[in-house]
Symmetry: C2
Subunit: 274 residues, 2 copies
């Protein structure tokens, strides 16, 4: 049986442990915080503590970007081991991994799942059920490793699995994840926010759910993907300026046209209920 380790037991790493364990795999876990390892053991998410990473056949690195880069670049892995990361930016990861010959086989993953809370207490075996998974491929990607990773993804009950280049991933994620967190974080800065209790419905709750981002981790992610995020942010501001101009000019038709444009686009997006 393959020996599997997860490094970093936050919401994602903890959920990988829980989901694989539930699917019948024996997994070990490591974290810089020993209490987190103890929690994972207590919950039955892991079989044991992963000490020497070089004995594992499969390693999932579920740490923030800089820590992930450090691990991918400097840890000793078993010859031929499959090593996956789950970082939200991929071009930078590939740059590091493929900067020199490696004795391991890298497969980049980005589970499109999460919550507005973090840490192992938010982890669950069901976090990935029906969620999208992006697998990032390069010319260096080992076919056999890829297929094995897909079997783990299925065991974790991911829904749709898409494969793409790191560049495509980073470009799309700038819109689908990164910009959303920026907007939510900005949205709550209205001076009115403190006095809105009782005046909110689902739209406000959706808009502000993910505002409380960990600024250290997200700043890392954003600056590894600066150009693409800037393009999306600039595009959104440009679009918002159009509604603003219509309001200033008291131009109801221009406003209506702007709304209609968005509605027609929205009607074409597949909307998946989770």
């Amino acid at each position: 049986m393959k020996k599997i380790a997860i490094i970093g037991l936050g919401i994602i790493g903890g959920s990988i442990c829980a989901a694989l364990t539930k699917a019948g795999y024996a997994v070990d876990g490591a974290d810089i915080d020993e209490t987190v390892v103890g929690y994972a053991l207590g919950k039955g998410y892991i079989r044991g503590k992963a000490e020497d990473i070089s004995v594992y056949d499969v390693v999932f690195v579920a740490a923030p970007p800089r820590a992930t880069i450090n691990i991918l670049d400097s840890y000793s892995f078993k010859n031929g081991a499959i090593v996956c990361d789950i970082c939200g930016v991929k071009q930078e990861m590939e740059r590091v991994v493929y900067s020199r010959a490696r004795n391991y086989r890298y497969v980049g993953l980005h589970p499109m799942a999460g919550k507005e809370t973090s840490g192992i207490a938010s982890a669950s075996a069901d976090l990935f059920a029906m969620a999208n998974l992006v697998i990032v491929l390069a010319e260096h990607t080992d076919e056999e490793a890829l297929n094995e990773v897909k079997s783990y993804a299925k065991a974790m009950r991911f829904g749709k699995i898409v494969e793409c280049s790191a560049e495509e991933h980073d470009k799309k994620i700038a819109l689908t994840s990164q910009l959303a967190h920026v907007v939510s974080n900005a949205y709550v800065k209205s001076p009115q926010v403190a006095d809105c209790d009782g005046f909110t419905g689902g739209s406000f709750q959706d808009m502000t759910r993910i505002a409380g981002v960990d600024e250290d981790m997200w700043t890392e992610l954003y600056f590894h993907n600066r150009a693409y995020l800037l393009t999306e942010l600039d595009g959104l501001i440009t679009n918002l300026e159009k509604y603003k101009s219509a309001l200033i000019n008291e131009d109801e038709n221009a406003f209506k046209d702007a709304l209609k444009e968005g509605r027609l686009i929205r009607e074409k997006i597949k909307f998946k209920k989770k």
Copy 2:
């Protein structure tokens, strides 16, 4: 038993019918579309069709802003009838209602509930369960009428009920509802949106859920609340520009500070799960 009518059987009007009927009240309904009335009858949401509005003790007007204004201003109501609207803007409604002496008692309502879909097919007896309800009061508001309306609100299973002036309502709603719909509508305009299937998670889904607004109704709402919406939209753009500047200037600390500011505010907002 009080005779109750609902004019306008969309998602909100239809849900008022369904909720009050479920609570044991006998309600009649009217709509410009006869098939909608037939649907409501078939579903058991209403007892009968409301023909002559002047026979009803209580009337809920659940129509778009301009239609609501027309109804409040020109329909014949029973002397002393309680008449409520559910419009998303209230200063304009009060201006119309209180422009001259009325033989009815007006109480403005704004149920903070809805869906990304509209029409009676989206209505349900449970739409308001645990939702916030804003009741708008003026010096003219009749105390007895207010208390009776609150009893209906409880029958409809609203959660928190807040009372405020039309001005306060319009100002807060500009942030909690109106701006959210603008942002969502703008968000989907990224050229990348069409190719994002498989790359989305909950944050993208939340951000784009309400993008498909009915541009006619929402433009009416927005332009009845132009100044407050403009303030909120301008404030959001100003805040978004800060992240943009930090990206352009490659200033990670400024970006981190901007995120931290939002996180600290977010942590103070009561977050109600629906």
